[in-house]
């Protein structure tokens, strides 16, 4: 206690100095409009900066939710775009036809949002795991897309997870076409660069140029037509020289892919049943 008193006595002038300076500076700011406005402006700026930094940090933690919301909105817009494209195409081809019945429309499909849990990029047959499974309505052979384009096809499902065969798999074959034409081919990846894949089978009389978009053609019951796959970056010839072999830069960046959507009700049981019957008939006739 005595030490404390001695300490205070020794350094009392510091305390007095601080008190007097604080009183002086407060008076300066309080009674002088110029100094007051400078302090007010600076304080505002400091507080504003602090709030902005805080808000940035909070926003960072909500990025996941915002991303999911954007993804949903993207899907909705893409669906609307697809509907409009369908309607425009039908109007051009069959001008007098009635609008397509909504229940029968191919575009009447739903998406299940999912996140990529794991993925390989450098194997010959890469696979991807997503965090949605049978409980969410995901089944094998459903299409998986992202906001940029086609990702792959569901291969196996469990209750909560699914394995997807992405485009970066040598067993993956996706039917696609040149945007704006009906020429179609098959996309097949070759081990190597995860940004590029190859489309074979586009006939040589098709007019192809670099920068043309490749999109799904809707022949399979996995992807609706018009979903982008990539852009043509190189035009080459197939081995037999009868068709083009196009090098395509994939529109989906698999290296940073995080959010995907599974198209859950595009497949039509009726069509699939019919195709299965046709296959069985072919097998019988071959026998």
């Amino acid at each position: 206690m005595r030490n404390l008193i001695e300490f205070l006595q020794r350094y009392l002038y510091w305390l007095v100095f601080l008190v007097l300076e604080v009183i002086s500076l407060l008076s300066l700011v309080r009674y002088n409009s110029y100094q007051g406005s400078v302090v007010f402006t600076t304080a505002n700026e400091v507080v504003g900066t602090a709030y902005r930094m805080g808000s940035n940090v909070v926003a960072y933690f909500h990025l996941g939710e915002e991303n999911a919301a954007l993804e949903t909105e993207n899907e909705l817009l893409r669906k609307q775009l697809h509907d409009l494209q369908q309607q425009m195409r039908q109007m051009n081809v069959v001008p007098d036809s009635l609008p397509v019945n909504e229940e029968q429309s191919e575009s009447d499909y739903r998406f299940v949002q999912a996140q990529v849990c794991s993925m390989t990029l450098h194997k010959a047959n890469n696979l991807m795991t997503i965090d949605k499974g049978e409980r969410d309505g995901v089944r094998p052979e459903m299409g998986v897309v992202s906001s940029n384009g086609v990702v792959g096809i569901v291969y196996l499902t469990s209750q909560h997870y699914s394995i997807v065969i992405p485009l970066l798999n040598q067993h993956s074959q996706t039917s696609c076409r040149l945007r704006g034409s009906e020429y179609f081919g098959t996309m097949q990846w070759e081990r190597g660069d995860a940004d590029y894949s190859y489309v074979n089978g586009i006939p040589r009389h098709a007019q192809v140029k670099k920068g043309d978009w490749i999109e799904t053609n809707g022949f399979s019951d996995i992807f609706p037509e018009g979903i982008p796959v990539g852009k043509v970056v190189k035009i080459g010839d197939s081995v037999d020289g009868m068709a083009y072999r196009l090098t395509v830069k994939l529109s989906v960046d698999f290296k940073t892919l995080r959010n995907v959507s599974v198209i859950t009700n595009y497949s039509k049981p009726e069509r699939r049943l019919l195709e299965q019957k046709a296959d069985s008939l072919m097998m019988v006739s071959e026998e």
């Binding site: 009392l12 002038y13 007095v16 100095f17 007097l20 300076e21 009183i23 002086s24 500076l25 407060l26 008076s27 300066l28 700011v29 309080r30 009674y31 002088n32 110029y34 100094q35 400078v38």
Partner: protein, 176 residues
């Protein structure tokens, strides 16, 4: 009331009178006004109570502010200078000076005393005009104001010192 307090009070009133009546109306180049209130702490002898010095500096600044409509400016500067006065005095006091040295040309020698006065004035005007400008914008003007005001206040103090010395010597001559 001790003689020291009375002397300081008398000195403070005199300085304030000169400052408010005469010096506050000088605006060299439009912005440099000497503030001689710093002289309040210059002739305080070594070993003075620091709390006492601080209160003198604060009160002197307060009265100056009330009459100059610069509330807080003189108070902050006066308090700051009062805090630094013992340090400045220690810096310039001769080695063989007594513990209760009273700063003056006679006790410190002309060179050291003038340096002490100049540095005191410089610090006072730097703090004063920095608080007055309160921003780094237009700093050349602020620097000019600091320099010119310091110089004018310094010359004023030198003039006062010379005047008081000559008065003192003439009195001594009369007595002898």
């Amino acid at each position: 009331m001790s003689t020291t307090v009375l002397t300081r009070l008398w000195r403070m009133l005199l300085l304030l009178l000169v400052q408010l009546v005469l010096l506050n109306h000088i605006h060299l180049f439009g912005y440099a006004t000497p503030v001689v209130l710093a002289y309040l702490t210059i002739p305080c002898h070594r070993g003075s109570s620091r709390v006492e010095l601080l209160i003198w500096g604060f009160v002197g600044g307060l009265i100056y502010d009330v009459f100059s409509n610069t509330m807080g400016l003189g108070m902050a500067t006066g308090t700051m200078l009062a805090m630094l006065q013992p340090v400045l005095l220690k810096l310039f006091a001769p080695n063989d000076a007594p513990e209760d040295l009273l700063p003056s040309m006679r006790t410190m020698g002309a060179r050291l005393y003038l340096l002490y006065v100049f540095l005191t004035m410089l610090i006072y005007h730097v703090v004063f005009y920095a608080l007055d400008a309160f921003t780094l914008q237009n700093w050349p003007v602020t620097l000019m104001a600091m320099a010119c005001s310091t110089l004018m206040a310094f010359l004023f103090v030198v003039f006062v010192q010379l005047l008081s010395s000559s008065i003192r010597s003439s009195r001594e001559q009369q007595h002898s």
